[in-house]
């Protein structure tokens, strides 16, 4: 309707080809994409050092998109599939939208103060961020291989630039280059997998592919080409969620990128990529479950083991969080491997939990940054509880949550995942999850130990001894300029505890969710 009206008013716009219901279905994407254009134009007119203004504008755009998504959730559309079956605006998509948009909002809150401290105030930052968010929103509802690829590229290309945003920093350059090259490879794998699927089924629509696969699987025939395609899809998507053994880029990119970009990358990208992972595997490729179940479970187990073991040896918080992110990806993969509604719900719950705790942890790192560098070495965290009791307390909370302690949302995330795995009979996944969680305690609690009892480190690293620099005054500087950033950390902490005591707030939201595949 709206399209028709606008089309009538502005006859040269080809809007009348697009039904209004379709446009409504992708309204959050339109808002974010349009917002990117607005910010781009605004960047031309606002004076130099207009960072806070652009940040505010970006925040408004994201809030508007979030509000729209909430409205759509409440309206509960009867036919959520739009654009001729290539995009689903169902509750699954909307839930992922919530998490992605909220994370992006948090990142925007952290950005102005951080960018000023590191001397990276460029308007392009916000434009790239919005573009990447648009890509994520495209990805989490995609019902067509082409749309999936579109989403992946739209989210990735701005991220390649953002990773190298600290132009004077060699590590940032290195990270961006690695991310670009390996990301290109991953895209190629993904595309090849899609090509094989298309070649064998003759469709790009997930619905149609599902129908073909179902026919084949019921007849007991598993097409080897499709199996190869699924394998390549796993490789491409595992790269995006940084699951081992496709994680090699993660530590360098996480460490090199500016901390705000790392925050965004580690949470929002993972959520979007897992959304498509879950949609593909729990719905479209479900007929082939007997074939992909083991490989996916193996990826989950390798990620949990590798991420947790290597994290033990780290001496930088950003690298620690990179490896812990690999491990956390492994936990979410349990939900993918389980595949049924309870697995999907558990994975979504975990992703929401992860958004709170990981955003919070990275936000603390962001707040600790100083002029020209991120203070993420363990030596720089030592004694933080004396210098910054509030930040240290919140960091401890996020570490406990990542380790899965009760009172924090991380506990229920693990509880739901493990119980989904056990219910599905995949006891080995739950046992590996438990074993590696026990290992993870070592490094999460070590961070707390460093902050609260300096000189008590259990692995005396050499770096501890050369720690001459004391970042006194770093966060004091942050405090004066970064009140929205402090708010973000506090909100993340509040959410971590609130959901840790009342998990039903999110868990009941997830009850109705099942994955639409056409």
């Amino acid at each position: 309707m709206i399209g028709a009206q606008v089309g009538a008013a502005v006859p040269w716009l080809p809007l009348h080809f697009v039904p209004a219901s379709d446009l409504l279905g992708i309204l959050p994407i339109l808002i974010v994409g349009g917002g990117a254009v607005v910010v781009l134009l605004a960047d031309l007119v606002v004076p130099r050092r207009g960072g806070p203004l652009l940040a505010t504008l970006t925040g408004v755009v994201l809030l508007a998109a979030l509000g729209t998504a909430v409205g759509q959730w409440a309206a509960n559309a009867a036919h959520p599939v739009v654009f001729d079956g290539s995009y689903a605006n169902d509750r699954f998509t909307l839930f992922a939208d919530f998490v992605i948009l909220a994370t992006a909002l948090a990142v925007v809150g952290l950005s102005p103060g951080y960018l000023r401290r590191r001397g990276l105030e460029e308007g392009e930052y916000y434009i790239l961020l919005l573009a990447s968010v648009a890509g994520m929103l495209v990805l989490d509802g995609a019902l067509n291989l082409i749309v999936i690829f579109l989403g992946i590229e739209l989210l990735s290309i701005p991220l390649y630039v953002l990773a190298g945003f600290a132009r004077d920093d060699k590590k940032s350059q290195e990270g961006a280059m690695k991310y670009l090259l390996l990301g290109g490879f991953a895209s190629a794998f993904l595309l090849y997998g899609m090509a094989l699927l298309y070649g064998e089924t003759g469709h790009t629509s997930l619905t149609a592919i599902h129908a073909v696969l179902l026919r084949g699987a019921t007849a007991g025939q598993f097409d080897p080409m499709i199996l190869a395609g699924i394998g390549l899809l796993v490789v491409g998507l595992a790269f995006k969620v940084s699951a081992a053994p496709f994680h090699w880029w993660t530590p360098d990119v996480y460490q090199g990128s500016p901390a705000v970009v790392t925050t965004f990358m580690s949470v929002a990208t993972k959520v979007a990529a897992f959304a498509v992972f879950l949609r593909l595997f729990s719905a479209t490729l479900a007929p082939y479950r007997s074939e992909w179940e083991i490989p996916v479970a193996v990826v989950a187990i390798i990620s949990m083991i590798y991420g947790n073991l290597v994290a033990v040896a780290q001496t930088s918080v950003k690298r620690l969080l990179a490896y812990s992110g690999i491990a956390q990806a492994g936990y979410v993969m349990i939900g993918v491997a389980v595949g049924r509604p309870d697995g999907t719900q558990a994975a979504l719950f975990y992703l929401a939990a992860y958004a709170f705790m990981n955003t919070g942890a990275f936000a603390v790192v962001t707040l600790l940054s100083r002029r020209g560098e991120d203070c993420d070495r363990y030596s720089q965290l030592a004694g933080l509880s004396r210098r910054e009791p509030l930040l240290a307390g919140l960091m401890a909370l996020f570490m406990l949550s990542l380790a899965g302690f009760p009172l924090t949302v991380g506990f229920f995330g693990k509880l739901f995942l493990f119980s989904a795995a056990i219910h599905d009979g995949q006891l080995s996944l739950a046992i590996w999850g438990i074993l590696t969680s026990a290992v993870s305690l070592f490094y999460y609690l070590r961070v707390i130990l460093l902050m609260y009892a300096p000189g008590e480190d259990v692995l005396e690293t050499q770096e501890m001894e050369v720690a001459g620099v004391s970042p006194e005054g770093s966060a004091v500087a942050a405090r004066s300029t970064a009140s929205p950033a402090v708010l973000v950390v506090a909100l993340a902490g509040f959410g971590t505890i609130l959901l840790g005591v009342f998990p039903a707030l999110i868990y009941t939201l997830l009850q109705g969710i099942s994955v639409v595949h056409g």
Binding site: D342, P406, I422, G425, L441, A453
Partner: protein, 591 residues
């Protein structure tokens, strides 16, 4: 009780912690006042609870018939009954508990097996005749710890707040009647304990804290798996998917335990463990680490020797009892058959703990480590009593848990005073302290004698009952455990004599002990102050009181012990016909 007394008991320390945090950090006196007030109020509440529990005339009757709180499954009651229950749904997806009960009683599975099972857990509190004693002990020891906490303690405010948060966790563990809620408190209590361990103590505290946490959580994580396992195994067989403890206890009567298949190797036939056995072992691992039993004990000496006295009072006094509590509350009731299967294993580990702890205590020169190893030995008695699986043994175990809490708290206060006064814990550098510290020596003597199980003092009662109970199982256990009693005399008197008798010996400037003659007067006032006396006297009084008049205590513990023994000795549904006669489908495992 018309008002939710358990929730209030849980909230008082929590509110107290927030109150303490709201005070300015330098107001040491006010912080201490609030701390003592809050812990005293909690103790008062548990005393009210205790009196109400004993006074309710219908309690005895309802203990026999099962409480009418919707926990009965078709007339089959949980043999263990709980009082003062409060229940609020926490996370609910799928049919409610009452719905499940109704469906069970009608003999149909409550929901379609293909749909995902509901995840229901609730905020469900309640006490029984065992946990109420531990609750009272916990409240008492936290008050004692609050009293001995010096107002000059560095970072007093944080210490006080963390202590109160630990109390919330401990009370939560003791009162929760839902497995998820129980696990929630079980793990959450570790967080303040961890911060207390890393923040205050000697230079090795960081390592000790990490060791403690990793040991404990590694064990607990398997328990978490087992909790989920109990949920699905019970659910699959009875249709009742729940984490509710009374319901689960009742439902165990219908859970088959004959899934064990056997395989043969080299001509021998080995029976594989059935699911119940695995679940039992996972729970047992978590509790064995917490107690600790011998192969899992190595966190304890480090943790006990590095902590500060107020921390040790409640850490050694009550936190270690939570493991024994878990054995009784969960292992015996949820896995009755497995409890019998593994009785020799657990009794063996308990005996090993008794003997190993005693021998290791003899070899220590660090006074705190002597007490730490003594604690391992004493807790071995508790577990031995539990897995005697008879009324005497269990009754003794319940009494001994309380007794040990009192004795160990007093011992740690005594050695803590010595450490604080002379700056060393080395037994070789100290001696003859009875001269400058006569009051301490007197109180220490009572605690020592109680610790070694002297008749007319409290530990004798518990140890006697435990030995009686284990003798009923097999005289071998009783004989081996008695060796532990003999060794206890040796290591406790070695500690006491070494510290208080002989020539006065103090650490010299160059680390060589100085032997001083007749200079006691010149040391100044080193004896216990009024604060320590105020903390020690009630503990010592309790030791004597329980030792001289044990009858009421034995009587009160006996009822609960009988209930748990009944729960552990239930015949289980080894016969599928029994289940199917009730119209139940018993699928072979998780759907």
């Amino acid at each position: 009780m018309s008002w939710p007394i358990l929730t209030v008991t849980l909230l008082v320390p929590l509110v107290g912690a927030l109150l303490v945090l709201a005070l300015p950090a330098q107001r040491g006196r006010a912080i201490r006042l609030v701390l003592v007030g809050v812990t005293a109020l909690t103790l008062g509440l548990t005393c009210v609870l205790l009196v109400a529990y004993l006074a309710v005339p219908s309690a005895a009757a309802s203990r026999l018939t099962g409480s009418a709180n919707g926990q009965s499954l078709s007339g089959i009651h949980s043999p263990v009954t709980f009082q003062f229950q409060e229940q609020v749904s926490w996370v609910q997806s799928g049919p409610s508990l009452s719905h499940l009960h109704a469906a069970f009683n009608e003999g149909n599975s409550a929901f379609n097996q293909a749909s995902p099972p509901p995840i229901n857990f609730s905020y469900h509190l309640g006490v029984d005749g065992m946990s109420i004693w531990l609750l009272a002990l916990a409240a008492l020891l936290f008050l004692v710890a609050a009293v001995v906490l010096s107002k000059r303690q560095e970072r007093l405010r944080s210490f006080a707040a963390l202590m109160l948060l630990s109390e919330v966790g401990v009370i939560g563990v003791l009162t929760s009647l839902d497995l998820i809620l129980f696990y929630f408190f079980w793990e959450a209590a570790l967080i303040p304990l961890y911060f207390l361990m890393i923040g205050w103590g000697d230079e090795r505290r960081g390592r000790a804290a990490l060791k403690f946490i990793i040991y404990t959580v590694a064990g607990s994580l398997f328990m978490l798996l087992a909790i989920i396992g109990v949920y699905f195994v019970t659910g699959a067989q009875t249709g009742v998917y729940t984490f509710d403890v009374p319901t689960l206890i009742a439902a165990q009567a219908f859970v088959e335990t004959t899934h064990a298949t056997s395989f043969s190797l080299f001509g021998h036939s080995f029976a594989l463990l059935n699911p119940q056995d695995w679940l039992f072992l996972a729970f047992a691992l978590a509790f064995a680490i917490k107690v600790p039993l011998v192969p899992f004990h190595s966190w304890l000496p480090d943790a006990y020797s590095s902590g500060r006295t107020p921390f040790l009072v409640f850490f050694a006094g009550i936190v270690s009892k939570l493991g024994a509590f878990g054995f009784i509350r969960y292992n015996l009731t949820l896995f009755p058959q497995a409890s019998h299967t593994f009785q020799p294993l657990l009794m063996g580990l308990a005996t090993a703990s008794i003997l190993y702890g005693a021998l290791a205590a003899l070899a220590q020169s660090d006074i705190k480590r002597v007490v730490a190893y003594a604690s391992i030995s004493h807790l071995g008695f508790v577990v031995l009593g539990i897995f005697a699986l008879n009324v005497n043994g269990l009754n003794g175990a319940i009494i001994q848990m309380v007794n040990h809490g009192i004795v160990i708290a007093a011992l740690f206060i005594c050695v803590g005073v010595v450490e604080a006064r002379f700056g060393t814990r080395n037994l070789r550098e100290l001696g003859g302290l009875a001269k400058p510290m006569p009051v301490l020596a007197g109180l220490f003597l009572v605690a020592t004698l109680a610790g070694l199980g002297m008749p007319l003092l409290n530990s004798f009662v518990g140890e006697f009952l435990i030995l009686l109970g284990s003798f009923q199982v097999s005289p071998v256990w009783a004989v081996l455990a008695s060796l532990g009693v003999i060794l206890a005399c040796w290591y406790m008197l070695r500690l006491y004599q070494g510290l208080t008798q002989g020539d006065l010996r103090l650490p010299g400037p160059d680390g060589v002990p100085q032997v001083l003659q007749g200079v006691a007067g010149r040391l100044g006032r080193v004896d216990v102050g009024p604060v320590e006396v105020a903390a020690l006297v009630p503990l010592v009084a309790l030791m004597i009181l329980v030792g001289v008049f044990p009858a009421p205590v034995i009587h009160l513990g006996r009822f609960s012990a009988a209930q748990y023994v009944q729960a552990a000795n239930r015949p289980t549904a080894t016969n599928p016909a029994q289940a199917s006669a009730r119209g139940l489908t018993a699928p072979g495992g998780a759907p």
